[in-house]
């Protein structure tokens, strides 16, 4: 096209005419001069277009390089997201303000747990998982002022066998109960963990050994482990107390290994049904001392629908042996039921009833908890609850008061 079309000419002439009114002194440009200007502008537009295309290509190239760098970092050995080695953790600080039936005040602030996770991915099918925990602020040789514990609660290597099966060897958490494997503070209600999964199921309960796990498409999973067993004392103030039998994998006695199996069903969103069996041929690992073959049965259900969640758990030990029977500890059991309701996505209330029958007088009680959780961030929680405990036989061991806690996970 040699000249612009008539319409364009008309528009230009009109514009020039209008301009001419304002600048009457200047002579109007000729059509030839206008055409020269238009051609010059057209060239500039083409140059700008080319420049824009080149800039876009450069930006695309920069984006590609950045993405490649992100991808290559993801196979690196550094720490954090995108690397093969991961760090995580959780922790909780508690304030307890309680009064016993004997009139004794318990007012404490306790850095109950400070936990770090370290994990490493050796390749797509072999990984290392660990959990390093400091409880109650730390330890000192004489127990003063630091009266806590330093523990390695998990340190295992996990192997994928195929999409459904995996196996692990090392120190791991036993597949029993609701809280033993998942106990980061933002995931449960109540400042202190429920007493059933403390006295009857001695959570956190870890052991050294090997296990195999299967996850199947119908929502059923199964776990089976052979591992170090408990070694409960048969004398002293904690005789036959389950929790005192945890060996914590510190030169642990392995005369009698234990076995744990679990079947879990999560095939309907919001529903979890699970049952575990734990067996040990001699729970004290000393033959003829009054505590022998032991079996723990545990079952629980979780039902979440919208803002409502209901949980129920029952656990029961059946232990053979004359000594433990005489101490009335051959059957130790407990259960709890909990209901919670989320008023907002960041605020929920709960109520829980617990009934515990352990071997010690202090471990036989009913307990009622009520309180709330507030999550200012999905991984940070502030908790407040009221506790009312009534001992079955000794009212001096009753307890009531409130707890406040703050917890986090990352």
């Amino acid at each position: 096209m040699k000249y612009p079309n008539l319409f364009t000419q008309g528009v230009l002439l009109s514009a020039l005419a209008a301009s001419g009114l304002a600048h009457a002194a200047k002579p109007a440009p000729t059509l030839e001069e206008l055409w020269t200007v238009i051609q010059k502008q057209q060239k500039q537009i083409e140059q700008l277009k080319a420049k824009a295309t080149a800039t876009e290509e450069k930006v695309e190239a920069t984006g590609e390089i950045l993405e490649q760098q992100v991808a290559s970092n993801s196979s690196g050995n550094g720490f954090g997201i995108g690397s093969k080695t991961k760090i995580g953790g959780y922790g909780e600080l508690h304030y307890n303000n309680l009064e016993t039936g004997a009139g004794e005040d318990i007012k404490e602030i306790d850095l109950h747990r400070f936990v770090l996770f370290f994990g490493h991915e050796f390749n797509d099918r072999i990984r290392f998982v660990s959990e390093f925990e400091i409880e109650h602020g730390g330890v000192e040789a004489d127990g003063s002022p630091l009266d806590g514990e330093v523990e390695v609660e998990q340190a295992y290597v996990e192997f994928d066998i195929n999409d459904e099966l995996s196996a692990k060897g090392g120190v791991f958490l036993l597949p029993i109960g609701i809280m033993n494997e998942t106990h980061e503070p933002p995931t449960f209600y109540g400042v202190e963990r429920n007493p059933v999964e403390n006295i009857i199921i001695p959570a956190t309960w870890w052991a050294g050994g090997a296990s195999i796990s299967g996850n199947f498409a119908n929502g059923i999973s199964a776990d089976f482990a052979v591992h170090s067993g408990l070694k409960i004392p048969t004398t002293g103030g904690s005789a036959y107390r389950i929790r005192s039998g945890r060996q914590k994998i510190s030169n642990a006695d392995a005369n009698d290994l234990a076995m744990t199996g679990r079947i879990k069903y999560t095939g309907v969103p919001g529903l979890e049904l699970a049952g575990s069996v734990h067996y040990q041929n001699d729970i004290s690992q000393v033959s003829g001392d009054g505590a022998d073959e032991a079996t723990l049965l545990e079952a629980h259900a979780i039902w979440n629908r919208g803002p409502f969640t209901a949980k129920a758990l029952y656990a029961s030990w059946d232990i053979d042996g004359n000594g433990i029977a005489a101490a009335n500890g051959d059957k130790q059991d407990g259960y709890y039921v909990e209901g919670s309701y989320k008023l907002r996505s960041d605020f929920g209330i709960f109520v829980r009833y617990n009934d515990v029958d352990g071997v010690r007088t202090s471990d036989e009680f009913e307990q009622f908890d009520v309180g709330f959780n507030w999550w200012p961030h999905e991984d940070v929680v502030v908790k407040v609850d009221y506790v009312d405990r009534e001992n079955d036989t000794d009212s001096d061991r009753d307890l009531d008061g409130f707890n406040v806690g703050i917890g986090y996970q990352f």
Binding site: G63, L66, E67, V70, I81, G82, K86, G88, G119, E121, D124, R125, I126, R127, V129, E158, F159, D160, I161, N162, D163, S166, A167, G169, I178, E181, T182, T187, G209, A210, S211, I212, N215, A217, G219, S221, F224, V226, D256, L257, A258, M259, T266, G267, V268, P269, G270, E272, N281, I302, N304, R305, G306, P307, E378
Partner: protein, 174 residues
């Protein structure tokens, strides 16, 4: 008997042979979604307001400057990743007329929370839309012990719905 079971368990470990969790290659997902005639891939830059809103949805800055997607008519398909607890979960999401048509977990490498990859969980997302406040308009029932994986899928669904609205394939942009 315990001794025998222990030995069997130890013998089982070296059988490990295949990688976990690649349930469908992303390219196969895209081919399936578009009946083996996928449109050319497009890229959406996460800059300005898009970056800000994507950051709000994810709870952290996006790991990428731009997101690839495929679009035809009112449908877009997205391959998105989010960390559950430690490992990225790769999810394919199809948005049709500003509603989720399908969510599928393509690659799952976490050691917990595997339930989210199954249809009984992901079918809850069908027909969900994004509200003005960038939240889903329907409650998703969680899975006990899989909180972080559930959370990751919810975030990615919100992100896919938001990004769909930023494309020319959204005919109903609010």
């Amino acid at each position: 008997m315990t001794r025998l079971v222990s030995l069997l368990l130890i013998l089982f470990i070296p059988v490990a042979s295949s990688a976990r969790g690649v349930y469908q290659e992303p390219s196969a997902f895209i081919n399936e979604v578009f009946s083996d005639e996928p449109p050319s891939v497009k890229k959406l830059w996460l800059t300005g307001d898009r970056k800000k809103i994507a950051t709000e949805i994810l709870g952290h800055r996006p790991n990428s400057l731009r997101t690839r997607y495929w679009g035809k008519a009112n449908r877009t398909a997205w391959i998105l990743e989010e960390i559950g607890k430690e490992k990225p979960i790769t999810v394919g999401i199809v948005v049709n007329n500003n509603r989720i048509e399908r969510v599928k977990v393509l690659i799952f490498l976490e050691s917990r929370g595997w339930e989210v990859r199954h249809d009984f969980f992901t079918k809850q997302f069908k027909d969900i839309q994004l509200q003005e406040n960038k939240q889903l308009n329907k409650h998703i029932d969680g899975i006990s012990g899989a909180t972080l994986s559930v959370r990751a899928l919810k975030k990615l669904s919100r992100l896919a719905l938001y990004l769909h609205m930023q494309t020319a394939f959204s005919h109903d942009t609010p």
